[in-house]
Symmetry: C2
Subunit: 346 residues, 2 copies
């Protein structure tokens, strides 16, 4: 028998059957390997090509390497994973399909724009907490060159970038989740709605996503009856400095002050001044590799007891943008908690 | 407390906590409204435009109408739905994002190519069976004109179509799933892996998907320890006549004969000879509207006691295809069963 997982408020779940993060794998490109988090990634590739011929195949290769690393660190083979929850930014999720095919793991393909890791961790938690699996894999990725080609201009055009632009992270993060106890537990999640504030600038994703992050944080705190100070960090995925300012302002209008605990993966992964990445990093890979490289170790050590981790996504395609549609946003929030080991509690 | 859902074999789940289909909504275009199932759809639009300016907006409008119909028939409002599981074929799921935004339901965006309804029903079943929700919505769609533009050539080019080509269905199907008893139960599911047999012809999706359907059916029967005769029908999504022949041959090589119970939604929805749809219908919408229009009523009435329903997807994008990648396939299988009412058992 299973404990009944608690539906909290309109959008949240408190996981009564524990779900744990067993391992992570983080793979990044050259630029990320020259940034502030350089030493914390599992693998850095100097060329961004990862030995492949096309940008799309390079992104697939990153997913394969990240998944292999996560499996290896967990001491698992692909056959130990009952499901893989995965997605990316490219049309028809091709980075995922061609990256994960060889593992032969039953696949749930996801699309949540840059919020995909949050979506994947939520669904994987549902799956484990509902007794449908004992171990699953969650993978996501983005690649600067394949994303520019998909959404804006091929990098070979050398177009100029405004200050509000974010820099798509070349990176893939993979996570093995398990019902078996580890030092980091997923204790709940809040699922986002699509929020449209009428932003139409494909070079200002931060502004498009900030309202969705605001909505998610506001509803999360209400559903769980918590305040920002109940978290060591509230971590957004890829708002960048432009989006961060909008988020803090929007929340302030709601009477919520997160400034003392808020961090953004897009601002953590690059040194915008020296690296010329404007507003900061973005893409599914941004939150995915920053969680594994920076936040997960701090949760394992107990430096952070509890964080709210919310990757943020901008819902657009080249087609919808060219047809004059807005760029709505979505965010998916996960509560990650440090778990005391027996040695510590004894 | 919840019953523990049973993990069966490598890829399947037997749902111990019942999940039911409460209602469906089916919306189709002109061609589908002239086909053999014409009288069974909830809504037919004569122009395929559904009052919108672009093909993509037309597809979004279909999702909105289908969801509204399903909600209405269930006597529900959007606020009664805890989650929506939805996806489509277009890059970055834009038909879904712009179609479902106004409902303000927490969204899990999916990508499973034309298998998306199977993926959505599986995840929604996990969600309900795990106690994470009491009612959820599952939606998917495809549109002939937006899909041709996305994957092959804009329809205005009037390119010729080979006999192996399928015709993307203009349609959207929406389903309200509930823990509350109805006449149709989802009793289990089998989740597909990516299967690549080396097909490289974007005009022969049936051949690309048949191996995935074979793999799914074989593993499903093994996991559940059943034979084809245990089902009134085994229904594939959109293999068409070309794919159906390949599927039956591949299964025959494995010693499995499904010929007496196999049907394909792509062959049901059009009269290929008189409608010129070559191999048959395809697209997320094909299985989605055929389930609601044709199979669900027969399950409700008890004419069918149990069917295996497996939408099939071809994993490709214009980019992956142009870069010379194969077209792998995936399938997701759902077991649907008639539930006796009290009146009948009394």
């Amino acid at each position: 028998m299973l404990e009944k997982n608690k539906q909290i408020g309109r959008q949240s779940v408190k996981l009564e059957n524990p779900v744990y993060i067993k391992s992570s794998g983080t793979v990044v490109g050259k630029m990320e390997g020259e940034g502030p988090l350089a030493e914390y990634f599992d693998m850095v590739c100097d060329t961004d090509k990862f030995g492949e011929e096309t940008w799309e195949a390079s992104e697939s290769r990153m997913q394969k390497e990240a998944a292999t690393l996560a499996l290896g660190k967990a001491g698992c083979t692909p056959a130990d994973m009952r499901y893989v929850f995965a997605g990316d930014l490219l049309g028809q999720n091709i980075a995922t399909s061609f990256g994960l095919m060889d593992f032969e793991i039953p696949l749930f393909g996801l699309y949540g724009a840059c919020s995909t890791l949050g979506e994947g961790l939520s669904l994987a938690s549902m799956c484990l907490g509902g007794g449908y699996a004992n171990q699953v894999l969650v993978v996501t990725s983005s690649h600067f060159a394949s994303a520019e080609k998909q959404f804006r201009f091929p990098v070979e055009y050398a177009n100029q970038r405004p200050l509000s632009a974010t820099w798509t992270v070349t990176g893939s993060g993979a996570y093995v989740l398990s019902t078996q106890k580890t030092a980091v537990r997923i204790s709940g999640f809040t699922t986002g709605r699509i929020i449209d504030y009428g932003v139409r600038d494909a070079q200002n994703m931060g502004a498009a996503m900030a309202p969705a992050a605001m909505d998610l944080i506001k509803n999360h705190l209400r559903d769980f009856n918590r305040k920002p100070g109940d978290y060591d960090r509230i971590v957004t995925g890829d708002l960048g400095s432009v989006g961060k300012e909008i988020l803090c302002k929007l929340l302030s209008d709601e009477g919520i002050d997160i400034t003392s605990v808020h961090e953004d993966c897009g601002m953590k992964i690059f040194d915008s001044k020296s690296q010329g990445t404007q507003s900061g990093g973005s893409g599914c890979g941004c939150a995915a590799v920053t969680l594994g490289a920076w936040y997960l170790p701090k949760l394992i050590s107990g430096e952070y007891k509890r964080i709210l981790f919310l990757p943020t996504g901008a819902l657009l395609s080249q087609v919808s943008f060219n047809e004059g549609e807005n760029v709505p946003g979505i965010a998916h929030g996960i509560v990650l908690e440090h778990v005391e080991c027996q040695e510590e509690t004894a």
